[in-house]
Symmetry: C2
Subunit: 361 residues, 2 copies
């Protein structure tokens, strides 16, 4: 099938077939989590009481519709392609939910690559052209949605994301924010899936050329990659140095560590220290732990490295390490995905707004 050229508007044709007038449609919220690997959009129903205004969101909120697309990071694919992906996945989600844009109360786009308010404003201005003027629009970095996925939409606490890459992001109740790591592998994100796997590959090369101790990682990784000698790892690595491809070796490192391999254990222990130090840096800078260091704060844990849930549980070790310094850290493994976190974020913004409006009237 030939790909149709992108024509703004054509993707919204489905709306003409939705017969219900706006006031009969259920009010909905769109939450979108846009990463470098994929983009997920969800549509959730928004509950309003005729007298009290917005209701607290249920836990976890029901998802009316969900759609998935590719990369929407403008740094990776360019502005035009990123925008087409974002608009298309939102249209698909609403189409699946049988709702028009008029039924939408709020949209929260949480996309990677949004680091400055200039990024935020650029995306907001573009989004404004798609949705009717009554729709509230919010644009955030994707780590904010990850935090919100664990706090039911409340922007407070610290989130640690450790998948292919890693970042720690924190928010205070009065709106201050801080981050640590998230600078990519060249700039030292060592606790990430990529970082752990690259250390393991390095350990195999070092064992082979005599710089390091022997390790079962050699047999395990060569077998996994169908290679016959560590020399071949050089070719394998540089043939396609994509971070996700290397990060995919993480389970072999965990297995070797569980089987007692010293080198693999050392790599995972280092990663635990690295990940914990990112969180500690954020907590310290924001004072999330209070003056005496004992205050409670949510610590949301997201990403494949922290969810392994094996005997060697990286996430659990990271929490232990953080708790020694900050016993008030309340670890949360979110039950919903970050796209739902984005929707909850929009929900929360709407509630705050309605409270402000009520005070004013």
């Amino acid at each position: 099938m030939k790909k149709r050229p992108y024509r703004n508007g054509e993707m919204w044709d489905f709306e003409a077939e939705i017969m219900k007038p706006q006031h009969q449609q259920q009010a909905v919220i769109l939450g979108l989590d846009g990463g470098t690997t994929s983009t997920v959009c969800v549509c959730v129903p928004f509950k309003i009481d005729s007298e009290d205004g917005p209701l607290q969101p249920e836990e976890p909120p029901s998802v009316l519709a969900r759609a998935v697309a590719g990369c929407s990071n403008h740094n990776s694919v360019g502005e035009t392609a990123a925008r087409e992906t974002l608009e298309r996945v939102m249209a698909e989600t609403l189409s699946k939910a049988g709702a028009t844009r008029s039924a939408v109360l709020a949209v929260c786009l949480a996309v990677s690559g949004v680091d400055h308010s200039t990024d935020q404003y650029r995306i907001l201005n573009w989004l404004r052209q798609i949705f009717p003027s009554h729709v509230r629009l919010y644009v955030q970095n994707d780590s904010v949605a990850a935090l919100a996925s664990g706090t039911m939409g409340k922007l407070h606490g610290c989130v640690l994301i450790a998948g292919t890459g890693t970042i720690a992001y924190g928010y205070t109740e009065d709106g201050r924010q801080a981050r640590a790591a998230g600078a990519g592998p060249i700039l030292g994100d060592w606790g990430s899936g990529y970082g752990i796997a690259a250390q393991a590959l390095t350990a195999v090369v070092r064992a082979h050329d005599g710089r390091g101790p022997q390790t079962t990682l050699t047999e395990s990784i060569l077998h996994a990659l169908d290679l016959s000698s560590p020399d071949e790892l050089i070719g394998w690595t540089y043939e396609d140095p994509s971070w996700a491809r290397i990060a995919a070796l993480l389970p072999y490192v965990v297995s070797c560590a569980e089987a007692g391999d010293q080198v693999a254990n050392g790599i995972l222990l280092d990663a635990v220290q690295e990940l914990a130090s990112s969180v500690k840096a954020v907590v310290q800078r924001l004072g999330l732990c209070g003056e005496d260091g004992m205050n409670h704060f949510p610590l949301v844990m997201v990403g494949g490295v922290l969810e392994a849930n094996k005997r060697w549980d990286i996430g659990k070790e990271v929490v232990n390490c953080i708790s020694k310094d900050f016993p008030g850290a309340l670890p949360i493994h979110p039950k919903v995905e970050p796209a739902v976190g984005a929707a909850l974020l929009a929900w929360n913004f709407l509630m705050i707004q309605s409270r402000k409006d009520a005070l004013r009237s």
Copy 2:
């Protein structure tokens, strides 16, 4: 000027203008050092005594002509482009020397990316089509030329190369060889110029986000790159992650260390350990130090990281570190470039051959 399409042979047209018959021309050797950044070819005169055969090469041998071209690593630019570059730079060198291919006694091509004997044979077969049948042809990895540049062509000892990348290569007198590192930055070449600079960039990011101590590297590197905040380093790094661009930050790390910065000093001390461990691994595996660990062996030191020759002298520290384990290491900073090393290698091969021929007759 329009670039002429490559037509095999046309580059050798100059030979028709050299009037001297072959027996009146001086016998010469071609030495070529082909790397990922550039390719250097030199032509040196070969001295023969009519009775004793080849004479020992002078120290250092005079260079009749020299030509430079771009990358000739077949992994980087492909086989066809690599061959055209190699042939063209050899033709240019001979043309400058006023010599024809008939005057050449031997050619040594030392090119990066030659790691297996299959690579060697492929290049030898191609080279055979360019030169008359009397010309002796040798193909080696470029690190072999670097070793030869310090040993007057003798294949014995260990060479440590530390420029943008790093590798240690060793040879025994009976022809065994071993290498360590040289696997690129993903696989842990930490003592390289790239490795040192990447650690420094990481230290700046860590100081900024609270994971690491403050360091003067921040001011020094941001000033050098004309950036105003460590946040901008992320964009700078991934905009063009070429290893040489990052490695070029090395002098700032050395300056900060010399001025007493603890973090910069730590990075350089780690690099020293890394570089020394590559050499130690090679020496150990080959037994270059003899059974009691006290034997003398040449240790050739090549590359920008080892030639800094500042107050903080990385090369000197590496030698100190190696000498503790292997007091017989004889450090050599070559007076000639690796292309001359390649020519010396060919010279040495010729002498060995002539001795063998003499024994046979």
